[in-house]
């Protein structure tokens, strides 16, 4: 069993996302440790990209903050930062980034480095099923699980995506880009039923989730929830003082998920 699958065992997983280097790489380390303390089952780390086309304004701004921070935030620096977390964090860590930074680093070199620093998975929003071959085998060779996304528009594609699922399935709750939403209108139950016919891979719902009520509702039908913008928004607001508010927020969200276990 992979580290990622283990993190879903016996509970509803709360997955927190943050952008590396926002407001600084040092702070990112602290925030990752704080999220683990607060009960996050898995943490997604965004490697900042100049043009994150799947992100709403909150995470776009975080990418800009990270890239324009003094000293910048290169792929290399993010690897070093994760490496420095060794022995300090036990939950699985996953990278979320766009394909170009990975391509430029070199698929092989990138995945090798992921394995070395202890990254368990990779989410690439602009790598759909059709282009997955490009990276899949290389990632597998280095025990990095390439995580797939399923969207409300996936329809007849659900089956083939689910068949190839690794790690967990990232179920996109709504149309559009990332960001806090008042209400999630997609019939997620139906989507999940369809996915379940094909695979037992854990399903985590993301996009738009910010309140404990939403987390409760989503974790009652899936194996976990992913929260990004609501965390990143707090980091944007509190900057170097973000540890406490982020930790408290994650505690409340983990609590909400627990009720559904």
């Amino acid at each position: 069993m992979s580290r990622i699958s283990e993190s879903f065992m016996g509970k509803k997983a709360f997955i927190g996302f943050l952008t590396a280097g926002d407001p600084s790489l040092e702070k990112t380390k602290e925030l990752i440790m704080a999220m683990e303390r607060a009960g996050a089952a898995l943490i997604e780390i965004g490697i900042p990209f100049s043009d994150p086309i799947a992100e709403g304004p909150v995470i776009q701004d975080a990418n800009i903050r990270a890239l324009s921070a003094p000293g910048g935030c290169t792929t290399e620096q993010v690897f070093t930062m994760v490496d420095e977390l060794k022995g300090k964090v036990t939950v699985p860590l996953v990278f979320l980034t766009y394909l170009n930074p990975v391509f430029k680093y070199g698929y092989e070199a990138f995945c090798r480095r992921c394995q070395k620093v202890g990254i368990s998975g990779l989410i690439i929003p602009d790598l759909p099923y059709e282009e997955r071959d490009e990276l899949e085998n290389i990632a597998q060779n280095y025990d990095v699980e390439l995580i797939s996304l399923i969207a409300p528009t996936s329809k007849e594609r659900i089956r083939k995506i689910a068949e190839k699922a690794r790690g967990y399935l990232y179920l996109v709750s709504s149309m559009g880009v990332t960001g806090v939403r008042e209400e999630i209108t997609t019939d997620l139950k139906e989507l999940i039923t369809e996915i379940r016919q094909v695979t037992d891979t854990p399903i985590a719902i993301g996009f738009g989730i910010s309140s404990p009520e939403q987390a409760m509702a989503c974790s009652s039908i899936a194996d976990g929830v992913i929260v990004g913008s609501a965390i990143v928004k707090r980091i944007g607001e509190y900057g170097e003082q973000a540890t406490e508010p982020v930790e408290n927020y994650v505690i409340s969200m983990v609590e909400a998920c627990k009720g559904q276990a």
């Binding site: 792929t75 170009n100 602009d126 099923y129 282009e131």
Partner: protein
Amino acid sequence: MKKGRYGIHGGQYIPETLMNEVNRLEEAYDFFKKDPEFNEELSGLLREYAGRPSLLYYAEKMTKDLGGAKIYLKREDLNHTGSHKINNVLGQALLAKKMGKTRVIAETGAGQHGVATATAAALLGLECEIFMGKEDTIRQALNVYRMRLLGAKVHPVESGTQTLKDAVNECMREWTRRVEDTLYVLGSVMGPHPFPMIVRDFQSVISREARQQILEKEGRLPDVVMACVGGGSNAMGMFCEFIPDKKVRLIGCEAAGRGIDTRETAATIATGTAGIFHGMKSYFCQDEFGQIAPVYSISAGLDYPGIGPEHANLHDTGRAEYVAITDEEAVEAFEYIAKTEGIIAAIESSHAIAQVRKMAPAMDKDQIIICCLSGRGDKDVAAIARYRGVDLHE
């Protein structure tokens, strides 16, 4: 080979939310491109509305002045809305309508593609929203008003560098919000498959006409065909039908901005490296970690950090050559063609004219160059005046 590939370039690197929609677009396009009714309707629009065929004009004075090859200009500037952009938008807007879409969205840099899309949408009764970098909405305020006059909603894009690439980002984001009733009318031979193919096909009318026209006028094929390249739609349209004619040299003229040895450039082939962005594998201006670079050119229409995947492959295989033209060379060509031929050409097209001026004198008198004059330059007059130190605003 995988679909939508040009050598190693191309592909479909987009979020899952859009995948079904681009597949649907591909199916619809495959069906309608063979549909006689669709083709008749489109040719009708191109003929009666856009004013095609466009002239293949013998630039006699330029030819004599440069003293070498015979120079022909493919006058896309004479099309309705003043550039080649109308060829593609009429095709895509008609396709949108046939697909049952009621709304189109588009990115624009200088505003040419935005104006053309707003025009086609007005004609065909489609709702239209244009995304334009905030910086560009200020530089091209007149075009913003023009689009609004045509009934389009214009959204100034405030993310990133607030220019063309950010407008494309925002269009993709908007499309993921609302795919059901909306078609993204992409303006160049870029983006995920099938866009590079669709846009090329709709623009290929340029070389289909030009090839026939030159055979009628000269009884032979040209020696050189050239066009300016940003994303590369007029160049792809101009090259397309000549690609099998191996003896015809194809030359794309990129925007060097202040020079390819400076950071203020948009010359993708000259200064870019392989990458994956905006749905395609191709060449991009970027740093060593794959962050897309801010680019610069005096021409807002060439101010894009990438190039269409088919061009990337034509470069790889050596079938086409790409040269870089600086702001200064383009502005000189802009002034030159105005004085010599009485044509105010777009600053984009002036990049290709600059290359004609470099090459023609060294060629034989019986050789032929066809240069695509992709658009008219009325939109650029104020900017050129300012470049020359004349304080003129629209």
